[in-house]
Amino acid sequence: MNRFVWKIMLLLWMLPGLALAQGSDSTEPASKPTTNTPSNFSVTRTLSGRISSISAGAKQLVVKDSTGKLHTLKVADETKYQEGTKNLGLEDLHDGQKVKVTYRAADSTALEVRLAQARPQQH
């Protein structure tokens, strides 16, 4: 294969970057409803423990983990509160409740607060 053809291929190789460099409107790999939604590219962590305190005004939730360590998390409009399949609000949470929190690691914002479901008592 002669050098000319290779140079054409080289040029083709370089074009994708140029295409995307024109802005997110030219192509839409990240904004498309693909499975790789931004949340899959966002580092999240989980934390299990009991609610130590809630401050609706300061938009803060303090959770004590099994080792006794306190973790202060922010709550935001995007925070979801759930008990099983039921959606809740911040006002439904109380001190001492067992929760599992998924939070964004970068700014400690809670994304999902899941209340542990009470197990049916065995008789």
């Binding site: 370089m14 140029l18 192509t27 499975t35 580092v43």
Partner: protein, 509 residues
């Protein structure tokens, strides 16, 4: 690693004091290890500062890696060098097994967290292990299979699997957490049967343990390294070239650090290349069949196998694949449901595919589909060209395989950094440096972790530099005085015999 207490003995034995190059290599090993230790203390979160720091650490590791290879090139003292290479390979991997444990814990806490993980008492690792979280799927699939459920039929979020996540054993509460950590829980597994078997095997060793699963993959990674070393020996090449695999930071990060299963594919492909070079064609066919049972991509190597092995022996590899799928016949089409979803919907870090999609954007209502067809045609053209140029020599198998697999990777719609791991054993054996360079460039894809957005500038940088390297180093069919270094693998067996009459193809020199 040279431990303080052993230093004088090691220095005497290998004559380090007389050999500054060995000292340099030892220094690079220690620098690299320091960076790997720093990665354990590094808070990998989605922010610009964190991701740039991570890339800076990786860049430093790649510099040490390149310098290490450079130092080794003219080194006469092979024995001491081999000790350092193997020590580094083991030490780096061992260190990175702890990556993903809480970064702010001290060593004692880290060890105790790892112990709890191995015993299956707690999920000690973070959901993301250095920006990757695929390992949770492997753990979950192993658990599902161990409980006689079919991972191809039931996606992790399927309510029918709820009982598997809520154990009656009060001490064993990890499965709920593992299930929560699985990414894309609405998609059934995409991994072929042998990969699933391996997840099951790791599960049998220590259910729910990230540390054990990672160690399992590291064992395959080291097996790949062994096959690379054996192949280099069989090719009469310096065994120290194995440093290109042993110390590659992407491999160490992806396998030991993040726990990707691609090490198993790398090991099977390295074994295929080794058996091919040794002339053990039946073993090569079986190893290839096993690689396809772990990821389907090595299917594209079929033309090169056929050229060398003929239909009969290649049929052996195909029989291995058929046998592997036999236990899942009852799954029917569902065995490929996850893979279909992956093929239709995933798209990431794909420079060429994005370009084609952009070019055809106004021609079709579904540019993604059209782009896939065009890229598939380009790939088939490349494969046809490679098959036409293929000289059929056993020792050139690695070169054609690396080129075909690499072509498939860069033309595909999803170019995950860890996919490059499959190529690297073949690239090291074939001296196709372009894929080694690409293993560094592809790390730029981690920039998406800042805010979940892909950037055109990043693709321009990644694929632009790749194109420059491609032009300078690996235009493999250039002839004459300008023949590239990677062309060395295209030396025919006859030429090889002329140069070294003692070398008998298919036998150890």
């Amino acid at each position: 690693m040279i431990e303080t207490g052993q230093s004088p003995q090691v220095i005497r034995r290998f004559g380090l004091w007389r050999r500054p190059r060995l000292w340099t290599l030892a220094g690079l090993l220690l620098f690299s290890e320091a960076v790997y230790v720093a990665m354990l203390r590094f808070d990998a979160v989605s922010s610009a500062k964190s991701v740039f720091t991570f890339l800076a650490l990786l860049a430093f590791l790649f510099l040490c890696y390149g310098a290490g290879y450079r130092v080794l090139r003219d080194l006469q003292e092979r024995r001491g060098a081999m000790v350092l290479i193997v020590s580094g390979a083991l030490l780096f991997r061992l260190t990175m097994l702890f990556a993903g444990l809480p970064h702010d814990s001290d060593w004692k806490e880290m060890l105790s967290a790892a112990r709890a993980d191995v015993r299956g008492r707690a999920v000690s690792y973070d959901r993301f292990l250095l920006f990757d979280n695929d390992i949770w799927r492997y753990l979950w699939d192993g658990h599902v299979w161990a409980n006689r459920a079919n991972p191809y039929l039931y996606e992790p979020s399927n309510p029918r699997l709820d009982t598997l996540a809520s154990s009656s054993d009060s001490e064993n509460t990890v499965w709920s957490d593992v299930r929560d950590n699985v990414n894309h829980p609405q998609v059934p597994t995409i991994y072929p049967p042998l990969a699933e078997s391996m997840f099951y095997a790791a599960h049998a060793l220590a259910p729910g343990s990230v540390f054990v699963m990672k160690s399992f993959f590291v064992a395959f990674d080291l097996l790949a390294l062994l096959f690379v070393a054996l192949t280099l020996r069989a090719l009469d090449r310096p065994a120290t070239d194995m440093v290109l695999y042993a110390w590659n930071p992407l491999i160490i990060k992806a396998i030991a650090g993040s726990g990707h299963m691609d090490a198993m594919v790398a090991a099977a492909l390295a074994a295929t290349a080794y058996f091919m070079v040794r002339g053990s064609h039946a073993s090569a066919a079986i190893a290839w069949g096993l690689s396809v049972l772990m990821k389907l991509s090595p299917l594209v190597l079929l033309p090169f196998l056929l050229r060398r092995l003929g239909w009969r022996k290649t049929g052996l590899g195909i029989a291995v694949i058929a046998l592997g799928y036999l236990p899942f016949l009852n799954s029917g089409e569902a065995a490929f449901a996850g893979l279909r979803t992956f093929a239709h919907r995933w798209q990431f870090n794909a420079g060429i595919f994005d370009l084609v999609q952009w070019l055809v954007g106004h021609l079709s209502a579904d540019p993604s589909r059209l782009a896939k067809m065009i890229c598939a045609i380009i790939f088939l053209f490349l494969l046809g060209y490679l098959s036409w140029k293929d000289d059929g020599a056993n020792r050139s198998f690695a070169f054609y395989s690396a080129t075909a697999l690499g072509g498939l990777l860069v033309l595909g719609p999803t170019v995950m950094p860890w996919y490059v791991v499959w190529l690297l054993p073949l690239a090291v054996i074939a001296r196709t440096r372009i894929w080694i360079y690409f293993s560094a460039l592809v790390c730029l894809a981690f920039l998406v972790m800042i805010d979940g957005m892909e950037r055109g500038g990043v693709l321009l940088l990644e694929y632009g530099i790749f194109a420059v390297f491609l032009h300078r180093n690996c235009l493999p069919f250039k002839r004459g005085a300008e023949a590239s270094k990677c062309d060395q693998v295209l030396i025919t067996e006859e030429q090889m015999l002329e140069m070294n009459p003692k070398t008998v193809i298919g036998e150890k020199p």
